[in-house]
Amino acid sequence: MSEINANTPMKDMTIGGNIYEAGNARNFKTGDWRSVKPVYIEEKCKQCGLCFPVCPDNAIPVNKELKREDFNYDYCKGCGVCAKVCPFAAIEMQ
């Protein structure tokens, strides 16, 4: 049912828009809501770990070494909270 999209015929849609599986927020890309964009400046980043816990979505991926990577703009709505908490000016809103 995660296949339901803007071309799905009515008969294949669930009633009331119900979602019968968990963990599907990643199917809904909200990045196009963004008006300003955070830019990651890797050389200034100390990997202090303050930015990714405050991201309200899933726009700052963290790897197995617990290091942040570049933004995933599919989910970044440009709220700027990460740039605000960064003590090293490693995130710049553009």
Binding site: A6, M13, I15, G17, N18
Partner: protein, 393 residues
């Protein structure tokens, strides 16, 4: 074996709820439906039912609690009237769009203002396009019977829509009449247990209900509701057939009283049908071919069936106990006349707004309508089709 009793309409409704024994009842008192949750809370206190009774702080909360309970996977019921229903307004639409088969007892009363606690149908008519199945009841027996059938209809997999059972405030809700009740065990067997396919408390299937439904989706979800409403017509008839096999009491989408060979017909809902039957009998003795079409199911609207049933008469009067204040006519009138147009029926039809705010409508008033119909049938002159009955000009 049926049990002969004498109960008011509210007692009959509360008794039906007791026998249904729903998982949750959430209600807030409002005249004239107050007695239903009042009697029901007594059943809860006495341990006669094992329902969770939620004494909410408003009708908005009552409907919200019913929505939560149904979404969780349980069976929820409520009762209200007039301004209570007005306060539920937002959640009424949420309930039907989330496809939750909540069952409500609506004891019809005038929606203020000016403030009035007596019977008319302005509360029900205000939610006629909200996606609820709407059934009307002539007397305590029908209020009871409609409630016994309600869950089988609402919870049917092709339907999954909320349902309200209407009856006239005070006129039937507070009048004690004879009634045939069914055995508790038989009711339990007929109503059955609610086994929803998807529900929030199912640990094996985590689901989300009520997500944001943007431009590519809402249209289709609304059309699904419309399809379910259309499908409910057959389900209502099927359940009525099973009910008749069990109790011997027969129900359809509407009742035709001496309509087969009638020349003059009245269409109405609820208790006025009783008065009209009395007048029809009297006029028949005088050789006047009077008949009645008493609408039982108003949503889904049986426009095609009504058109067929009335096609042979010479004149029709539709009685609306709610004025739509629209300079076109009452809700039932405009529904019937547009069905006539669609189904190519050409019978002169007039509309009477009557009984507003509990204004008494007597046999003489109904007789005057048949007299007016005689004139319309004879001359074909509709005059002003949007009329008033019992109004001081």
């Amino acid at each position: 074996m049926s049990i002969r009793e004498r109960l008011s309409g509210n007692e009959a409704s509360a008794t039906a709820m007791k026998q249904i024994n729903p998982d949750v009842v959430a209600a807030f008192p409002i005249t004239p439906s107050t007695e239903i949750p009042q009697y029901f809370s007594t059943f809860v206190a006495n341990g006669t039912v094992d329902t969770e009774f939620v004494a909410v702080e408003s009708e908005h909360s009552a409907m919200s609690a019913c929505i939560g309970a149904e979404a969780a996977g349980s069976r929820a019921m409520t009762a209200t009237s007039a301004n209570g229903l007005s306060l539920m307004w937002e959640m009424i639409y949420i309930a039907s769009s989330l496809r939750l088969p909540i069952v409500m007892s609506l004891v019809n009363r005038a929606v203020s203002g000016p403030l009035n606690i007596h019977n008319d149908h302005s509360d029900a008519m205000g939610v006629r396009d909200s996606g609820w199945i709407m059934m009307f009841s002539e007397n305590n027996q029908e209020a009871y019977d409609n409630l016994l059938m309600a869950h089988r209809i609402a919870e049917h997999k092709d339907v999954m829509l909320p349902l309200m059972v209407c009856q006239d405030g005070f006129i039937t809700s507070h009048s004690i009449e004879n009634i045939m009740l069914e055995e508790d065990s038989e009711v339990k067997k007929f109503v059955g247990t609610y086994k929803p396919e998807h529900y929030l408390l199912n640990r094996k299937e985590p689901i989300a209900i009520g997500p944001l439904d943007v431009q590519p989706y809402l249209f289709e979800h609304k059309a699904q509701q419309a399809d379910a409403m259309r499908a409910s017509k057959q389900v209502i008839l099927d359940v009525a057939k099973d009910f008749e096999a069990w109790t011997g009491r027969k129900y359809g989408l509407f009742e035709e009283y001496k309509l087969d060979d009638a020349e003059l017909a009245i269409v109405c809902v609820n208790s006025t049908a009783g008065t009209t039957k009395f007048v029809v009998d009297k006029l028949r003795e005088q050789g006047i071919k009077a008949g009645l079409l008493k609408l039982r199911v108003y949503r889904p609207f049986p426009g095609e069936e009504i058109s067929k049933a009335l096609a042979h008469v010479k004149a029709v009067a539709v009685l609306d106990k709610s004025d739509s204040l629209n300079s076109a006519g009452g809700a039932i009138f405009t529904d019937i006349t547009s069905s006539f147009q669609v189904h190519r029926v050409n019978v002169p039809t007039i509309n009477y707004i009557y009984g507003i705010g509990g204004r008494d409508t007597k046999a003489d008033d109904i007789e005057s309508v048949y007299k007016d119909l005689e004139y319309v049938a004879k001359t074909g002159d509709l005059g002003i089709p949007y009329r008033y009955l019992g109004l001081r000009r």
